[in-house]
Symmetry: C2
Amino acid sequence: MTLDDLDTPFLIADLDIVERNIRRSQQHLDELGLASRPHIKTHKLPFIAWKQIEAGAVGVTCQKLGEAEVMVDAGIREVFISYNIVGRPKLERLAGLCAQAKIFAAADSGHVIQGYAAMAREFGVSLGVFLEADTGGKRAGVQSPAAARPLARQILKAPGLTFEGVFTYPTGPPTQSFFEGVAAALQTDGIVCPRFSGGGSLCFWELDRTPICTEHRAGTNVYCDRNLVTQAGYRWENCALEVLTTVVSRPTAGRAVLDLGTKAMTSDPNPQGGFHHIRSHPEAVFEKLSEEHGHLDVSRCASPPALEDRLRVIPNHACGATNLHDLVALHRGGRVERILPISARGKIR
Amino acid sequence: MTLDDLDTPFLIADLDIVERNIRRSQQHLDELGLASRPHIKTHKLPFIAWKQIEAGAVGVTCQKLGEAEVMVDAGIREVFISYNIVGRPKLERLAGLCAQAKIFAAADSGHVIQGYAAMAREFGVSLGVFLEADTGGKRAGVQSPAAARPLARQILKAPGLTFEGVFTYPTGPPTQSFFEGVAAALQTDGIVCPRFSGGGSLCFWELDRTPICTEHRAGTNVYCDRNLVTQAGYRWENCALEVLTTVVSRPTAGRAVLDLGTKAMTSDPNPQGGFHHIRSHPEAVFEKLSEEHGHLDVSRCASPPALEDRLRVIPNHACGATNLHDLVALHRGGRVERILPISARGKIR
């Protein structure tokens, strides 16, 4: 079976490229002495998570409890949920996971840690806790190294909780000094911070600038996408994920309409502007995306695509595209090897 | 069961508001003498499609064949797929639908009509065909009224095909004269155009400017959203669809982090800028959306939300938000009446 046998739009990923990206990432982190704890948000597939672990990753990172459940059910035994888990329904599910595997979760406040401590006590389970640090990302996380100190103490005092380290997203210029500050603040209490965990794919080739880190969580670079190519020195040949599409209308000489829009590709923007990339027609420009139509300007193409031609589109943002599809076809150079349900898709709770 | 019993994030829609929106839309179209053929892309639910039909709609509109299959399986017997259906796999499925219900599909070229004609002949079914006109939307559709003339003739000549009219999206200032041109062009061949079909929710209260139209296809205004409020005179009280969310972090006095980001709300932009709206905290501003975090600036809120508080967020774009969720909770003023699978979600082919 080849890609020609798939009706469109269809999410496709080239396994040869995926495996090369995994090897290359692992090798880079090995060279830097960093443990790899890849983020599954990009592929949402146990099949690829296992490839990452077999290549040397120490475990995987998830953003949502429901994603972690899919990974643990698939036999993965070390999962970091890099998210504050709050509220009774989620804490009960978290306890269930802790009974099955080695689970780490995030905290950035005493309130979140209290919830974990109460859960560990009630259900008799143990949970590893990573403190989140806001080193420039401006979302969750403690705002100063000093703020980490009482939280680390609180974790260490709670039966059932272990203190696993500090993490941030994304790794950036302020990360090194922030993490050094955390190390010093904890040292005041005689606490050694076991791990310094960075994250991101944009920064992946600059991790030597953050030598305090002991591990890295990258998501997007397993598939790569237009945003990584235009912003971070990745190349089109690193891009494994595409959406297979058909030209459904050629209303003018310069316009082709594709059977994919924001509902198959997202509206996720590119900081340099524009949307998506078509390897076979690099001069084609997405002028606009409707929900179910891609408006493609083909006026600069040497041989513009015809009605019913099939194209392969590299999305701006691989993680967002994956999140829209129920199935992905894994192929090698066009030969379909597996069609898998994206089993962690939609696990938003 | 109330909304308090749902874990977050959870897509919710207030049925009282939905039913009021349906009544109000139908009444407006009745007053204008327009048939209603609502687009199900916004709710993707047979449950609400049936409410629209029971309120007076002549049938429903779908964008994808897979959506039409869900609607026909739910007993809806007149479905317009306002999309060019091309390629053998889809034409075979289309034939199956034609055997079950009254189906209309779109065409904007002789090639597409040839496909329909061959399908009707091979499978012995009949299909209604609407010609698509590009009256300013700049995606698919014939580019001039004159171009509609040979296509209408081609449809009328093909056994099994019926000519159902001309349609556009969105209805706008050029629509009236374009449709008048189509009527005149067809008249040359003695063909009376049976329907002039407009579409859109932004233009919904200005349809008196396009008196040639005989019917209208509106999608978004069944739920309404921030984009309709800021652009088209809809009001917050028309907004039925929200995403229920929890504050998972309060890292600074001015920032609250919500457990929803682009993967629960989309990146679909608002032309006036910004994202989403929270009725209970109208001063709260989304500074940024990560994939799974909403970065909320609450510095202007009289009583900013606390950690673990639950909020209800009206999305920029209702249709995009629906497309991300497997389930929707239908409630009346907070009391949950049904939790339904969004059965036409993910039907991208």
